[in-house]
Amino acid sequence: MYRRLLFIGSALLLVVILFAWQQSSRAPKPISLTPTLSGQPEYCLTCHADLPEISKSHPLQTFGCVSCHGGERLALNADLAHSNMRGGANPSDLSVVEMSCGGTSCHSGSEAENRDHIQRVMTSVQSTYAGAIANIRFTFGAQPDLNAYFGINAIKDEQTHTGITALSAFEPATETNSMIQKFGENCLTCHINAAPREEEAYARQTGCAACHATEQHKLTTAIPYTQCNACHNRGNYDLRSMTFVERADQPATRIQDYYQPIAQFTRCEYTLDCVDCHTRNEVMGDGDIHANQKDIQYVQCQTCHGTINQLPQTKTITGPNDIALKMEFLNPVSNLKVGDTILVTEKGEPLWNTRVLPNGTYELIGKATNLRFNFRPVMGTACEQKPDQQGSQYCHTCHAVER
């Protein structure tokens, strides 16, 4: 009997070992990548070879995956490989952005070299939501003025130009007024690090990717207006009920799909993309803590069109290190060269997608659309605007379109 059992046992062992061989041959072949930045091999591509390169500025061969995403570079088991990942699938979430995207040679460098993106975003109203919080607290009597005392997170600014040196973290639970508590519960999804509302129209990521990731695993500076719309055009907060009221209408045309239905618009406001006019500092912050969106948003019609007495400000690019050339390099739509003259804002920010043409008119190239627009200055036209009325609302009086 033992002889037969021995035969069965031997056969069983062979079957099991053959099975082990078969399992081993079926295992996926590891795909190695040794990015030049880290010099350490990583095997993420074994499973993720189908992802597009994140952007031209972050080549795979240089950055690899782990220097931004974290994770276990050697693990071929999904659970282990994905443990320790920064911010889950989104390393640009503001809670981890300093580790993923920061560092002095990346996006957390000096202000002078324009490498302080993270610091600027952290202090910007997009992250702090300071204006809304201050307004609501003032309205319901929790603070005596409209100054900003609270942000979504506590934040400091040592070299303040606005007089606001720090914001404390807004904690709705400690508020005594029930309306402010309700505001805290329902209305804090409106900053870039909040998880967006569920519906598809609000789909965006958090942190840098909230604006810069227009599609899966792609970062871009060519940001279409639709990306901004995920937050800025989906409805309103009702201050009486402290709830969010979604847009009920279904916009069919571009002009309908633009801000609240009551607002007035001129042609460029529904033809161009938001980023074609609104600058880096307006959108990402200028490094100072501001009490209100209005304090930082300054581009008006006159920035590009000038006034009846004055042409818009311009600047000629003199050297290859000009910031305008660097910005154009990231999104090369206008073939900008040394010697070109471009428009600049009142604060000196380059509108690098514009150009002064030899005939005295101007050209703007859509950052996301690549379309060319030719436009004239106000000076020398029949415009009857008064010199002290330079806000865009005065331009709308004549130039707004019917909706």
């Binding site: 046992g9 062992l13 050697l74 693990a75 088991n77």
Partner: protein
């Protein structure tokens, strides 16, 4: 033919009752086979494993994910180690429940207990060698327990840990203990333990005059049974290793706050459960040591089974010893299960 150790362990014929599965459960023999597998797989792991804090977990990932059959090898080592503890425990229970520990086998019973303690230490040091996030708190707790021993605790801690907190010195020390300081005595004790089994007349049976069963089996038959046991154990171990990976976790980056609940390795869960009750020295050191002393004293303090009652389960005359061990075993199992209930 020159006598050899093999022939010492495999005489020309032995009583058939000594190799009945239902009497011995094959536990001792299986343990020796597992020890052999552990030695071979462990030696092979040493070709890739690097015992430094930076490299330990990384080198284990390399074995697991890139070395051909590395995952299988590591799983074999892991599962053989866990089965070794279980099989040894079964062996211990069998020896007590059949009264086989009485003289002349009393000393071999103590050797076996020493082996059991060493195998638990081997398992714990091997577990620590992973040096990943899965082990860091068991290491902190286990080593801090040493500190609670009065008078010698602090110096013992330093001698074992090599510093005031676990670090690279600790890892290299645990490595040295695992592959040398514990393995060497274990190998020696296994040989001695087996040697004495034969020296004391093979597996415990009543003296020849009192035996009812005179059937004997030949050396060849014994070897066949052993090989059969190895084939089935080996196959089962392979199947287990192919389908159930050994635990692995991300490398330790820093002692970051924990999330969720922390569990000791399974064979120390019962100690962890007792530690929830209070004084670490009492529950974590004293009680386990007292249990060990009770086990050591079983052949000395309890009524012995009559020689005629050997060779079968539950001899009536040594009932007290059986009850004592049963209480200890049930208590340990219940405590282990309790430890799995989450902390509220």
């Amino acid at each position: 033919m020159r006598p050899s150790f093999f022939h010492h362990l495999h005489p020309p014929t032995i009583p058939a009752a000594q190799s009945r599965w239902r009497y011995t459960l094959g536990a001792g023999g299986t343990a020796i086979f597992l020890a052999l597998i552990l030695t071979i797989t462990g030696a092979l792991e040493m070709f890739y494993y690097i015992p430094t804090p930076d490299q330990a977990a990384i080198s284990i990932q390399t074995i697991t994910y890139f070395v051909p059959f590395g995952a299988l090898l590591r799983n074999l080592h892991f599962w053989a180690a866990q089965l070794f503890i279980i099989v040894s425990a079964v062996h211990l229970v069998r020896v007590v429940f059949t009264g086989a520990y009485i003289p002349p086998r009393r000393f071999n019973y103590l050797l076996g207990l020493a082996l059991f303690v060493i195998s638990i230490l081997l398992n714990f040091t091997g577990y620590i060698l992973r040096w990943d996030q899965g082990i860091q708190w068991a290491l902190v707790v286990g080593t801090n327990l040493i500190k609670t021993i009065p008078f010698i605790g602090d110096s013992l801690y330093q001698a074992l840990i090599g510093g005031t907190q676990p670090g690279s010195a600790t890892l290299i020390r645990f490595y040295a203990w695992h592959i040398f300081g514990l393995m060497l005595p274990a190998a020696f004790l296994v040989g001695w333990h087996a040697f004495r089994v034969r020296r004391e007349g093979g597996i415990a049976l009543p003296p020849p005059t009192l035996r009812t069963d005179s059937e004997r089996i030949t050396r060849n038959e014994l070897v066949r049974r052993e090989i059969l046991a190895m084939l089935f154990t080996g196959s089962a171990l392979l199947v287990l290793s192919i389908f159930t990976p050994a635990p692995i976790a991300p490398p330790i980056i820093e002692m970051s706050p924990l999330s969720g609940e922390v569990r000791a390795p399974w064979f120390f869960l019962w100690v962890q459960q007792m530690l929830k009750w209070g004084d670490p020295f009492f529950w974590g050191v004293l009680i386990p040591v007292i249990i060990l002393i009770i086990l050591i004293l079983i052949p000395y303090i309890f009524p012995r089974p009559a020689e005629s009652e050997l060779g079968r389960w539950f001899p009536k005359s040594s009932g007290l010893a059986q009850v004592t061990l049963a209480i200890i075993a049930v208590a340990i199992i219940v405590l282990t299960l309790l430890a799995l209930i989450p902390i509220k």
